[in-house]
């Protein structure tokens, strides 16, 4: 996994709430057996017209938002299906940070496995950021994960919370499986006990 570094980047704005993973990556793109190349399909049904041309009404198609690494979006982002294709598409498109008031649980977990930082803001903080972007499209925010701090030119930044374990993994680009394997002896012990306690599961 890529380590997550401090960065200053353009923040793109989508005000809609309850954006579900079916929208983030529509199901027609889930048949691939690879992990890469989903970025071109991100928000496909909104992003492109019937004939394949770009839908100029769609937020992310605004020239000011091209090359954005930060996505500022309405409540309950990533609800619906568990498909990890959603964060794969988001990361592959170029985002590494999302800011919203809330995320669906599975999506939130999936972000951390793909070097994406999902920042949780309050309603007020989100409203100020949204306001700042809409009055100054192309504005750049600084995300400093080490210090858990977001800053914006108009002073709408804030300190955010993130689980310390996940933070360390993001900063170091650590893979969860490697960490878990440090506890292999514990897993072996647990499994021995499990066989005694629940013999019918091993019959």
């Amino acid at each position: 996994m890529e380590p997550y570094n401090k960065h200053e980047s353009v923040a793109a704005l989508m005000t809609r709430s309850n954006v579900d993973t079916d929208q983030i990556i529509p199901k027609q793109f889930l048949k691939k057996v690879e992990r890469s190349g989903f970025g071109i399909h991100l928000f496909h049904d909104w992003r492109f017209n019937e004939d394949g041309s770009e839908n100029t009404d769609f937020e992310l198609n605004k020239p000011a938002f091209k090359n954005a690494k930060i996505l500022v979006v309405g409540d309950n982002f990533g609800c619906g299906s568990s498909r990890e294709h959603a964060p794969w598409a988001i990361a592959d498109y170029g985002f590494n940070t999302i800011i919203s008031t809330s995320y669906a649980d599975i999506f939130y977990n999936n972000c951390f496995k793909n070097s994406i930082l999902p920042i949780i803001s309050t309603k007020e903080q989100l409203a100020s950021l949204m306001n700042e972007i809409s009055t100054n499209e192309g504005v750049q925010f600084i995300v400093d994960l080490e210090n858990q701090e977001l800053s914006s030119p108009a002073g709408n930044g804030f300190k955010f919370e993130v689980d310390s374990f996940r933070k360390e993994n993001l900063l170091k680009g650590l893979d969860d499986i490697g960490l878990t394997f440090q506890h292999l002896d514990k897993i072996d012990q647990y499994e021995e006990k499990h066989k005694q306690t629940y013999p019918w599961l091993w019959a």
């Binding site: 809609r16 709430s17 309850n18 579900d20 079916d22 929208q23 529509p26 199901k27 027609q28 889930l30 048949k31 691939k32 057996v33 690879e34 992990r35 049904d45 309405g74 409540d75 309950n76 609800c79 619906g80 299906s81 568990s82 498909r83 990890e84 294709h85 964060p87 809330s102 995320y103 669906a104 649980d105 599975i106 977990n109 999936n110 496995k113 793909n114 689980d163 310390s164 374990f165 996940r166 360390e168 969860d176 499986i177 960490l179 878990t180 394997f181 506890h183 292999l184 514990k186 897993i187 647990y190 499994e191 499990h194 629940y198 013999p199 019918w200 599961l201 019959a203």
Partner: protein
Amino acid sequence: MKRTMYEKIWDSHLVVKAPGQAPLLYVDRHLMHEVTSPQAFEGLRLANRKVRNPHSILATIDHCVPTKNRDLPIADPIAKKQIETMADNCQENGLNLYDMKNPNNGVIHIVVPEHGFVHPGMVVVCGDSHTATHGAFGALAFGIGTSEVEHVMASQTLPQQKSKTMLVQIDGELSKYASAKDIALAITGKIGTAGGTGHVIEYAGDAITALSMEGRMTLCNMAIEAGARAGLVAPDQKTFDYLKGREFAPSGENWDKALAYWKSLPTDDGAEYDTIVTLNAADIEPQVTWGTSPEQVTGVTSSIPSPDDFNDTIKSEACANALKYMGLKAHTKITDIPVDLIFIGSCTNGRIEDFRIAAEVAKGTKVADNVIAIAVPGSYHVKKQAEDEGLDKIFIDAGWEWREPGCSMCLAMNGDELTVGQRSASTSNRNFEGRQGKGGRTHLVSPAMAAAAASAGHFVDIRTL
């Protein structure tokens, strides 16, 4: 200390809680389908890792499979590759796969209970959000991402944060033709699609104990639509009777040991929940969704709301967007909404009881002009049982299509889909924009309501038939 069922399962599966790291939870059962697993197998291979316990895995192929002309080669080359990849991966790792030709094939969450693969008190995962279905057995069952699928294959564990607990207490008696599906939709309407975020829901109350195992599966299946990580129902005699004698259920001496353990699982009297929600079963009408989120739902005797009915600006805006997408006008009576296509199936409502009730309603009727009605059993076993009971004939005589099992129009990956502007009455679980086909318009309902709409050509209050 008094503990909830969730806390009991959590405690008994905690492998290690190292300082500064997420608690590691042991996983008893791992379910798989073709869409969310290939990248996980690839990851294992690249890291030179092995599947730790192949016996903990049961796999099926359901999302991409055609529901007709199953004997012909699969036309879509990408779907074909995904299906072949699944077969190769399972073979290479010695996993039990119910492939397309297998008589046990079907939708993962239908097939797994049929074979008694999930028992009370287990931790069960699958790269699929509707894994919550298996909470009906009192198992902690939840959906995971593909990286986590890889993690579980490699280590039989998963780093997890402990969830909060929510009790959804539903007392009273459901009216005739109100079903588990209506309870699930009513809960989502009440608490919203983010209402259960961060929680595991436990459903309790007379209305829940009165549900059959299949009804409980329907209910827990949609815990995710209310934002919850998982849903749980305490195991009871119905649960034990359902499991007894099934292929992967314990037998002999092990049955008695298992039973004693299962009986220790229900929440202790006086244990506390973080959140409590109550509903009265008698108040739950047959439900119909009118928007593009499962929380945009109402009773069949109501009308479609107007954006002005919501004080919350986000909800108001969402209502306006949904009406636009759905091609509906505020204040239209639900029973005046016409339908073009009826779909009965999916892991929410693709079980034998669902087809029984739908057939009861469809019997002796005719599908309305310009309406297409398709019935897609959740598995070959469901299909066979329905045929043994003559249900297929009832559907076919009424003008329905009787298909082969699969996810089909629930997410429309296999070619079964709505066309732009087409409107469905669907027994599946999600009415998101484009879920059943780009530009398609989905109304979620129970099987009885779907069957009634098929002959009427619009929604009807099933209780008045």
